[in-house]
């Protein structure tokens, strides 16, 4: 009688990583992982759906009683899926990521040169936020106005990244949007202070 030493225990789940490694390949970029084209325009409902599908397969809750090594891999894969999802979901992070994939260095740290008109505009936004920093309703209105403005700029960015394909201009637009993001966060912080 042959010794059947390495028999799998009965009822053991099928080896998980033959399955998961097919869907989560660490060499894929975020777009490939989510099965969407590398472009700025994105189907957010599809993104959400794919996110749930991926997490259903890799989330640590699926491996709570698995051996340590499998649990660790599951955590890494779920972390990777979260990172990709957050990057693709945020238009700003998505734009930065596309530029990065195209090998464009947007020089966010060093290139702070902005058109004078844009900087004037920024200053005026900041003054208005300061002036209304005690009035939550006014702050919310400012935030809505700010988002209208940045919304238009995002449309421009969409053209630059997907249609005209002008990476240089897209970098500049992305830098601009970072200013808007910062203002938006400042309003949030002010509102939070008022609520404390």
């Amino acid at each position: 009688m042959p010794l059947n030493a390495r028999r799998e225990p009965k009822g053991a789940r099928p080896p998980p990583f033959s399955r998961t490694s097919m869907t989560v390949d660490l060499n894929q970029n975020h777009f490939e992982l989510f099965g969407v084209p590398v472009q700025f325009a994105i189907d957010t409902a599809g993104l959400d759906r794919r996110y749930r599908e991926l997490q259903r397969e890799v989330h640590p809750d699926r491996f709570a009683t698995a051996p340590d090594a499998e649990r660790r891999v599951s955590m890494q894969l779920a972390t990777r899926v979260n990172e990709a999802y957050q990057t693709l979901k945020s238009p700003l992070r998505r734009a930065v990521y596309i530029l990065q994939l195209r090998g464009v260095d947007p020089k966010f740290e060093t290139n702070t040169a902005m058109p004078a008109g844009f900087l004037m505009e920024q200053m005026s936004w900041r003054e208005r936020i300061e002036a209304d920093s005690e009035k939550p309703e006014a702050l919310l209105q400012l935030q809505a106005g700010l988002r209208d403005e940045s919304g238009k700029i995002y449309e421009k960015l969409h053209d630059q990244l997907d249609q005209g394909r002008d990476d240089e201009a897209a970098s500049q637009t992305t830098r601009m949007l970072m200013f808007y993001e910062k203002l938006d966060n400042e309003i949030d912080d002010k509102l939070a202070e008022l609520e404390a």
């Binding site: 030493a5 009683t65 949030d188």
Partner: protein, 620 residues
């Protein structure tokens, strides 16, 4: 006629094996244990039919430890040794504990976490909590008829890393296999959502004995996605008791009270608070040790007025959570109320005003968290039924960061990031020739490190001197599915590394932590375990192969009985190879060694004989 079930060849299903799993709500005031029976989550009661176990532990001079109802009854008689609301001390330093002045305990201001001196010696909050967990574990094991395979313990969503780690440690100390730490509002959302097949945006407002949480969740097609959470880890029903207690002391013009009288009046205040939920007036009557009588009446209106500010403290976090989720009030489909303190009418009223809708109170606010935890435990343990294909996506409540120059906190992982999450950030040196860097990990939303909670400090040493700004130190934060953090640092140009699982510094000095770090400098602890496991697996596999080969050649040297014994041990060893504990494999290897001792001896004899014969042949 019953149909016979026939499975596909090679795919015979294992007989359904239900794994014993429970959810535990380790509460400030009361704790519960629940499990899933026949697909339904149920709270397990004690012999007297009580589900709630008062979270009270009394240490007695004779060496006994009493937990629950009996301890609660003794609290006024022996306040110094009867620990109530220990959850408020979990992962907390003395300076973080509110109402220290009204606490009767003999606190020790140990670094990291306070400790309490009792007649049975110094106890840490982790040990006290473990006593509560042990009672629930015993209750569950008796009810389920055997050892528990796994447990989910709930924590307030707003608990920081130190408080979470302390809770997990308490579970381990109580002999539980903690499958997951689950946020209380999320547990409640599971229980509510699955019961009501809810879809859409829900808020869970959880005001417990000592903590307040607000979570905003999106329930969609079996996915529970926490969008944002906020709260106050030191606000709960206890504070309402304290407020009423102070009012009574003032009203009755009482002199400073002894520990016993303080506990007595606090207990009376709590009873009055509960009575006022459904009644217009309550009396607080007591006879103090001095013989002095206290007899004060309090109306519902008076009570509500004196505690209105406490309720108002929950509004800010609620607004913040909603804004972090990027939502408007009108988008919230329902507000689920959790925690005994939400029974107070003025709490319900304020929540109704805030959200513009009547909150959902159709579930038992004391039990819903434990029921949700049991449901999660059941699924994690592998008892997943066909309807259990749901998924939980939770977040970290507080931002994580490191200290930079000037005592500022640099955010690395923002609050409300979905876990598990990892983020790396690069830092550099600020002095020429600097060869070490001290990394201070903090948690919180404030700009100044001094206002955030310090989680850990460690040092990265031994990179060569460079000009200021030339070193590139990459600090990686990883938060796992329990919301627990580990940090690794690496200098990029030289590859010098350091890693640590962030453990709260209770009872440990900075030097000891540094030492622990030094020990884990070369290899993370986990890696050491993993390596030992690999080694034993390889060794075990080799052992099986070698023994099988030997049996093929020389099995005739053994009697049928001896052969069976060897084969049994080999089979046992084979089974251990897939386990995760290297010591189990090692001991199985040793047993095979022992079982084959005689066989090895005889084989040796035979080979010697063979060799001798061979030589004879050769020499012929």
């Amino acid at each position: 006629m019953a149909l016979l079930q026939i499975s596909e060849p090679g795919q015979s299903p294992a007989p359904h094996e239900h794994r014993r799993a429970v959810g535990i709500d380790l509460g400030t005031t009361n704790s519960l244990v629940a499990t899933v029976r026949n697909g339904i989550a149920v709270v397990l009661n004690d012999h007297d039919g009580y589900g709630l176990l008062p979270s009270v532990v009394r240490y007695l001079r004779d060496g006994r430890t009493v937990t629950g109802r009996e301890a609660e009854a003794d609290q006024a008689r022996d306040p110094k040794n009867t620990i109530v609301s220990v959850k408020r001390f979990m992962g907390r330093g003395l300076k973080d504990v509110v109402h220290v002045e009204n606490s009767p305990y003999d606190f020790l201001d140990t670094p990291g976490m306070v400790q309490i001196r009792t007649v049975l010696g110094v106890k840490s909050p982790v040990e006290v909590s473990a006593e509560i967990l042990k009672v629930l574990r015993a209750r569950a094991e008796e009810a389920l008829g055997g050892e528990l395979m796994g447990t989910v313990i709930t924590v307030p969503a707003y608990f920081d890393d130190a408080q979470r780690q302390a809770t997990k440690d308490a579970g381990k100390l109580a002999g539980l296999n903690v499958l997951r730490l689950l946020n209380e509002p999320t547990a409640a959302a599971i229980a509510y959502g699955l019961d009501n097949a809810a879809e859409g945006i829900y808020a869970v407002y959880d005001l417990g004995g000592g903590t307040f949480d607000i979570s905003i969740l999106k329930l969609s097609k079996g996915v529970f996605e926490v969008m944002a959470t906020n709260g106050d880890a030191a606000l709960g029903g206890d504070d309402f008791d304290q407020r009423l207690f102070c009012w009574v002391v003032e009203r009755a013009k009482l002199a400073p009270l002894s520990a016993e009288d303080t506990r007595l009046l606090l207990t009376k205040s709590r009873a009055a608070k509960e009575f006022l939920t459904a009644n217009a007036e309550a009396r607080i009557s007591a006879i103090l040790i001095s013989g002095e009588t206290v007899d004060v009446a309090v109306t519902q209106k008076e009570f509500q007025d004196m505690t209105r500010q406490l309720v108002a403290k929950t509004l800010g976090p609620s607004r913040k959570a909603l804004r972090d989720a990027g939502l408007q009030w009108s988008e919230v489909k329902g507000v689920v109320m959790v925690g005994g303190a939400t029974r107070m009418p003025h709490v319900q009223q304020m929540v109704a005003e805030l959200f513009g809708q009547t909150p959902l109170t159709n579930l038992d606010p004391d039990k819903v968290v434990a029921l949700g935890a049991a449901t999660q435990a059941n699924v994690l343990a592998g008892n997943r039924a066909s309807g259990d294909d749901w998924l939980l996506l939770d977040v970290i409540p507080l931002s994580l960061g490191v200290e930079t120059m000037g005592g500022l906190a640099e955010r690395v992982i923002p609050r409300n990031s979905t876990i598990p999450v990892a983020r790396a950030q690069e830092f550099t040196t600020y002095k020429n020739g600097q060869t070490a860097m001290s990394i201070h990990v903090v948690q919180g939303e404030r700009e100044l490190v001094a206002d955030c909670r310090s989680l850990a400090r460690f040092e990265l040493r031994g990179f060569p001197p460079m000009v200021a700004g030339a070193a590139r130190i990459r600090v990686t934060f990883q938060v796992d599915a329990d919301g627990l953090l580990s940090v690794a640092a690496r200098e990029a140009t030289t590859g010098v590394e350091a890693a640590i699982a962030v453990k709260p510094s209770y009872g440990l000095t900075d030097e000891q932590i540094t030492q622990m770090l030094r020990d884990s400098f070369d290899h993370a602890r986990e890696d050491v375990h993993l390596r030992a496991l690999k080694e034993q697996q390889v060794e075990g596999g080799r052992m099986i192969e070698a023994t099988e080969a030997a049996l093929r050649e020389d099995a005739d040297l053994l009697s049928a009985q001896e052969l069976a014994a060897v084969r049994a041990e080999l089979e046992a060893l084979g089974k251990t190879l897939s386990c995760t504990d290297h010591r189990t494999i090692k001991s199985a290897i040793e047993r095979v060694n022992r079982a084959t001792e005689t066989f090895a001896g005889r084989r040796m004899d035979r080979s010697v004989k063979r060799a001798l014969t061979g030589r004879k042949v050769e020499s012929l």
